[in-house]
Amino acid sequence: MENIHLDKHISQQFDTDLEGLKSQVLQMGGIVEQQILDSVKAIESGDSQLAERVIQIEDDVDLREVALDENCTTVLVRRQPAASDLRMVLTVIKMTRDLERIGDEAQKIAKMAISLTESGAAPSGYEEVRHMGALVQQMVNSALDAFARFDADKALDVAKQDKKVDREYKSAMREIVTYMMEDPRSITRSMNIIWALRSLERIGDHARNLSEHIIYLVRGLDVRHDSIKEIEKKLHR
């Protein structure tokens, strides 16, 4: 089934329930995306106030996760959804989990930003954080867009980006380790950057998970443990 519609049920309330789940996920996604942007900015600019805000917003994200789970449970109990409706509810449950984890990672990055303002700036790695931050934020943004449009091909593009993030992460690590060897006094500060990069890399993984959930929703295909080539083959068969 290519075309996912949430409407046209005999029960209009069911349409409303599913539309509600969709917009709640998009709202939660928007907040999480902002968290990534802000946490990266906090590191770059040494803005600990901004970092504090990222940490505070995490409570809101957690509440949204719980509320979405509850709403999904209600739809399952009341409607016993099948086919694309069932996949929609399952996908929302899974996406919510990944979005919450992305929020957690952004919170960790914000904590590293605070730590860096307290211990003094690291000698290197800021450019890499900025670059990787932009990359993973774009992935999350595109994944949410693919979800909003129920677009499996767009979701595949997001999954493809994850390789790039992994490459960036490895090369950034090499660079920072070199600095640490040259100047062992910077190790503590550099470790903060490393943890931040690690979190960004994890966000990339979660964005890939989001894209896999969307492919399941739109096409009913489980591509969780497939390579990009295998996913492409399944999608275009």
Partner: protein
């Protein structure tokens, strides 16, 4: 609540009428055939007078398989089921063409006697219909008619065995001479299943067997279907999609006399192949 504009609604209605016009061109998708077919149906058409109720349906029912038939009211699923043991013979205006076989035997062969056919292909109906006889006689009637027991002790054995298989023995063993009609609805339906299996059929047809039963009695029957499928081949028509999802191996979706889709039940309820199946099981028309 989202408001549907008049234009949107008329677009939807137009879409539905398009579906109805296009239905005659629908080709069955999925896996209608089986490698170990117990019953083989090919290009079956059924007419009631001038009106065609079934259009070119081809389907296998595999040995020891449970096939569920679902679809909106009037889609032909019950009509099709009733063809499988010639229950439509009594309707004068009913004409059936195509090939319907039980293993290698043409069940509509002019020389095929329906009585032994119905012993091989038994049927359980929507409303439990025990004979106005004792519980014992309800089950013993078939084996007596078909001469399956030569002695009373053999008959006793068949009755006990059948009631046990139907999960009713424990509840009725002390009152076998009480009238069958005195049992509860769920018990009566299990009595009818015991009566059906007493003549050792190979195939059991069930036409909405739980629609008159409460959830507990329904759960018992569904449990029974799972057990019976180890020895029997079962075709079940049901209005409850959850029931089809719970009891069957494959699910067949009928729409306006056409067999639209047959697929593994898991597939049908998570990712159906045909847009009509999707629309029906997600409650978008019906």
């Amino acid at each position: 609540m989202k408001e549907t504009s008049a234009a949107e609604k008329s677009a939807n209605i137009k879409q539905d009428s398009d579906i109805n016009q296009d239905i005659q061109n629908v080709q069955t998708v999925g896996t209608p055939f089986s490698d170990s077919a117990k019953m083989t149906m090919r290009n079956v058409d059924v007419f009631y007078g001038d009106k065609q109720a079934i259009h070119d349906v081809s389907l296998d029912i595999g040995k020891n398989e449970v096939v569920a038939m679902i679809g909106p009211s009037g889609c032909g699923k019950s009509t099709f089921l009733r063809c499988l043991n010639r229950m439509n013979d009594t309707i004068e205006s009913c004409k059936i063409t195509g090939e319907l076989k039980l293993e290698d035997r043409d069940i509509y062969h002019p020389k095929q006697d329906v009585v032994p056919l119905r012993a091989r292909v038994g049927m359980v109906f929507q409303k439990p219909n025990p004979f106005p006889k004792s519980i014992y006689d309800n089950v013993a009637y078939g084996p007596k008619v078909h001469g399956l027991a030569s002695r009373k002790s053999e008959l006793d054995e068949i009755v006990e065995h059948s009631l046990k298989r139907a999960g009713l023995w424990g509840e009725v063993k002390d009152r076998l001479s009480s009238p069958g009609t005195g049992l509860s609805g769920g018990q009566q339906q299990r009595l009818c299943i015991a009566r059906t299996i007493a003549v050792s059929p190979e195939v059991i047809l069930m036409d909405e067997p739980c629609s008159a039963l409460d959830p507990i009695a329904t759960a018992r029957i569904e449990e029974l279907i799972a057990e019976l499928s180890q020895n029997f081949t079962i075709a079940i028509v049901t209005h409850s999609m959850q029931q089809a999802a719970r009891v069957s191996h494959r699910t067949a979706y009928f729409h306006m006399g056409k067999l639209v889709e047959v697929n593994a039940t898991q597939r049908v309820f998570t990712n159906p192949e045909h847009a009509l199946t999707e629309a029906y099981i997600t409650g978008r028309f019906g």
